[in-house]
Symmetry: C2
């Protein structure tokens, strides 16, 4: 869990990262949240009465209007009234929404897309998901579940996904997907620097792929190009439908930067009409861990005024 105390400028001036400890159950999570909010206030000398609201960006299906987590398998929650529970535990008003939506909302308000009205965002980390900002506001769609593009099946990809389907985009374009590509290349006996980084190829990471890429390693370059092509292909479908002002790539894998986006740009130039891309901003997020905190805080402030 990433905590932040956000000032009137919309940016955090206190932050902390703690393990979620899911197996200890939701009551433990609530205690952790309440304790860290206490710490934030104490350490910054902020009065509880000065806090406008608590904002939470969380994974899974979130009913933002009712403050309920409809389903988040990673957190083992289902139909759980997160906002009411946090309100009870902290005495503060609480508003929740999906974490990817809040991350991209943060980037749209104060980050890479801060002058853009319509933003298509993708976060790539342990998984891959999208979010839309339409006219400056987070878009939810039916049931507020828009954005799960990590599970679009990609032709030619045979990997089984955690979701049970085969060939999902996130089996290739994600930190574990890149690590898996590296591992498979080493196990297949490819001549690559990746073989030298760890005794056990199971220890290879997405960061290793970037490192080998920078050393000119052909295997790493091919892995990054394949991921870039898969991501570019999906964006080539979405961009003409949406005509966004900006496409923002966030999450841990966004640290790969142009190693990944270079190929994405090539695909878009080949496949998408110039009208859509000549002034399109395609960039990585700038706030990283802070983006979700910034977006969640802004969301809570906005909702608390409604």
């Amino acid at each position: 869990m990433v905590f932040g105390l956000v000032g009137e400028d919309g940016l955090p001036f206190w932050r902390r990262k703690v393990p979620t400890e899911v197996p200890k159950g939701p009551e433990h999570m609530l205690r952790t949240i309440a304790a860290n909010i206490d710490d934030a206030l104490a350490e910054t000398g902020t009065a509880r009465e000065a806090v406008m609201a608590v904002g939470v960006g969380m994974p899974g299906k979130v009913d933002a209007d009712r403050g309920i987590c409809m389903g988040a398998s990673n957190l083992r929650l289902r139909d759980y009234p997160v906002a009411a529970k946090i309100r009870e535990a902290t005495g503060l008003p609480c508003y929740i929404n999906n974490d990817v939506k809040m991350y991209i909302y943060g980037e749209a308000l104060y980050g890479a897309a801060k002058d853009s009205r319509h933003v298509l965002g993708v976060t790539i980390g342990t998984g891959l998901a999208g979010a839309l900002i339409i006219d400056g506001e987070p878009y939810g769609g039916y049931r507020n579940i828009s954005g799960e593009i990590g599970h679009i099946p990609i032709d030619g990809v045979k990997r089984v996904c955690n979701c049970g389907m085969v060939g999902c985009l996130e089996t290739v374009v994600s930190a574990p997907g890149l690590a898996r590509s590296a591992r498979e290349a080493v196990l297949a006996g490819e001549r690559t620097l990746l073989a030298d980084y760890h005794d056990d190829p199971a220890e290879l990471t997405a960061v290793d792929v970037s490192r080998a890429f920078d050393a000119g390693d052909q295997t790493a370059i091919a892995i990054m190009r394949h991921a870039g092509r898969c991501l570019g292909d999906v964006l080539a479908y979405l961009i003409p439908m949406l005509s966004p002002d900006a496409v923002i790539i966030g999450g841990g894998v966004a640290l790969a930067g142009e190693r990944l986006l270079g190929t994405v740009r090539e695909v878009l130039h080949a496949k998408v009409s110039k009208s859509y891309i000549e002034s399109l901003k395609l960039e990585t997020a700038v706030h990283n861990d802070d983006a979700g905190v910034i977006g969640s805080a802004a969301w809570a402030v906005k909702k608390s005024k409604e």
Copy 2:
């Protein structure tokens, strides 16, 4: 051009279809528009003062805020102040927007998607294009050009498109695309009923494909399935990103109905998570030619009140 006089119930009570006669130039189009508006009023005994506004749905890139057609190659217009010209020619306030957006807006207001907040629409006729209704309003995106999904390149399709690119979706999924598939099958010597319909295979139409499909012709069934798979594949990318309440298929080819949508449903069930499709309405438009008139009229009324 399709004209309609729309009553307070939002539906046309007078309608007419006339050739556009593009080669005669924009001034001729304006005279035709003014003359048909005169006829509509005279034939229905409607006073000019009772008209709230003229709404126009037109192809191409439309700057709806300024009332300017930025570019419509079919109409040979570029940076043309359509709304001001029509206002001048008719003495009536005029508001314009893109025709596909207005068609789907009409279906969202009074047609197949009338109880849906978020609608993904596709019209399939001489070409293919999309439109989005978000929170009940037509969505434009940057420059109001969202929706040109007819030119997404489809893997494995080698046809050259009118736009100059290769493999565009609309080279397969459109009335000319279906006719071309039929023609190619006949010229390739396939044993098909389609060979018996016309002396010259160049005369084959999309309607012929539906007719042969209904007679159980395997070639026609394969043509329709291929088109359905291409359309379904594109929707499989768009639906998870947008989580729409309804997907509406309009335009002349929508008359193929379940012959086309049957395959689309199969693709969606195979590729898209149940959360997005279990209560998704996937239907053909109900207003056909009227949909654009209904949407354009509603748009003009809405804008005239702003």
